[in-house]
């Protein structure tokens, strides 16, 4: 029980440091936070602990509205994701929707195989495994499983974006106020984000890229 309790003490202490340091840097910070949120971005990312969106984008609390699930999948009839999209796009009125996959993704790795992960996860990952089947020859030609997994992650981002484009709140916001959608991959081995083009592959000079 000892070490379990320590793990909780640790994040409570971490929170006290966060609260103290933040208030010290800007005494009005928390009163401003209480006023509301005006994030520009909805981030749909993987639940993976190695991809904390606000940290890797060097952003502050209040900047990114977040949904994270197993392998950043957007399935057409998922009420959870639909509610997040409806609220963030329709009510909070974000300007950009980002779907971010990543290299070394457990979900993508498992999608390369038909390993039995239990009925719940098998069902959730089924569409991703279908992507593998659909793109078999392209994936087979890649040098190793890391490359295949990264490619499946890219294809999955693109497929999630396609589902999002059909969401009624997104259709409306794209037409009425120029909402934009973007696919990205976070490279775990370098810590860098890169933008995907429409086809779901690499893009050297992205919309948001400074170069």
């Amino acid at each position: 029980m000892g070490s379990f309790a320590d793990a909780i003490d640790r994040i409570v202490a971490g929170n006290r440091v966060f609260a103290h340091d933040t208030a010290e840097q800007d005494p009005k910070y928390f009163s401003k936070l209480s006023e509301g949120q005006w994030p520009d971005i909805l981030w749909i990312g993987c639940a993976d602990s190695r991809v904390p969106e606000t940290t890797i984008c060097n952003c502050k609390p209040g900047e990114i509205f977040v949904h994270r699930n197993i392998a950043n999948c957007v399935h057409p009839h998922d009420v959870n994701t639909s509610a997040v999209v409806q609220y963030s796009v329709g009510v909070v009125k974000v300007k950009k929707v980002v779907v971010c996959g990543h290299t070394m993704c457990g979900g993508a790795n498992h999608s390369l195989t038909d390993d039995d992960l239990g009925e719940t996860l098998n069902t959730w990952l089924h569409p991703m495994r279908e992507l593998r089947r659909k793109h078999k020859s392209e994936l087979d030609a890649l040098p190793d499983n890391n490359a295949r997994s990264a490619r499946v992650a890219e294809l999955n981002v693109q497929s999630s974006l396609n589902v999002l484009r059909e969401h009624p709140a997104i259709k409306q916001a794209v037409n009425e106020r120029g909402l934009t959608l973007h696919g990205m991959i976070f490279d775990i081995t370098s810590g860098q984000l890169r933008l995907l083009d429409e086809g779901g592959s690499k893009k050297s000079n992205g919309l948001w890229s400074p170069n």
């Binding site: 994040i11 966060f18 639940a47 940290t55 952003c59 994270r68 409806q86 609220y87 948001w208």
Partner: protein
């Protein structure tokens, strides 16, 4: 807040590059270690609200906390999305703690109690009205509207903890390993601090298993 808004998000990639450089400078092995895999101690189920980045407010770095965030931190029994997250975190990553974290001033909770047809949001937010109904007499007695919402936020967190405890993944793992433990917390914007609702996890599990036992 304005400062952050004018700091254009077109520079998100630049921000990211700066961050990646800094990590490498502080610890040249940083990304090599991340590459090896993740073994987080915690699963965090929190609200999508942009003001509550779980890792940042708990002082954790990449690799330490598995995250699911949705509108009003709900754990619904027919939701394959959250159930997949709980499954993966408990059965594959073997997390030791599950934190369900709500926050005072939750827009989702407010929206849920607004008499309005919200389309696709209706089936999701309905779960919050159900929490209200379970605690109707207590909540109705609170005259101050803000305080009533705050209490509903707390009761919602407790109810979602209960929903986590109802899953087979949790019950089986707890029986076999003695973990994970479920915690109910609330984040306050006025001071940036987390409040522990101190739910009685053992008692909750026992109570729930009278009707919802999924272990043999």
């Amino acid at each position: 807040m304005q400062k952050y808004l004018t700091q254009s998000h077109d520079r998100i990639f630049e921000n990211n590059r700066v961050w990646a450089e800094e990590q490498k400078k502080k610890n040249p092995e940083f990304f090599a270690k991340l590459k090896e895999g993740q073994s987080p101690d915690y699963l965090w189920i929190g609200c999508s609200d942009s003001r509550i980045p779980a890792e940042a407010i708990t002082g954790l770095g990449p690799g330490e906390m598995f995250i699911h965030r949705n509108i009003a931190n709900l754990v619904c029994n027919v939701d394959l999305n959250v159930m997949s997250v709980v499954n993966y975190a408990v059965r594959h990553l073997k997390v030791k703690h599950i934190v369900v974290c709500g926050h005072y001033g939750c827009g989702g909770v407010k929206a849920a109690m607004t008499p309005k047809d919200m389309g696709l949001l209706n089936p999701w937010l309905r779960n919050i009205r159900d929490v209200y109904r379970l605690h109707e007499s207590e909540l109705d007695k609170i005259e101050d509207e803000e305080k009533r919402y705050d209490r509903l936020v707390e009761l919602n967190v407790v109810e979602q903890c209960r929903n986590v405890v109802k899953t087979a993944a949790l019950q089986t793992s707890y029986k076999e390993n003695g973990y994970p433990i479920v915690h109910g917390w609330v984040f306050g914007f006025h001071d940036g601090r987390l409040v522990d609702l101190k739910i009685d996890f053992e008692g909750m599990l026992k109570g729930i298993q009278k009707l919802y036992n999924l272990t043999d």
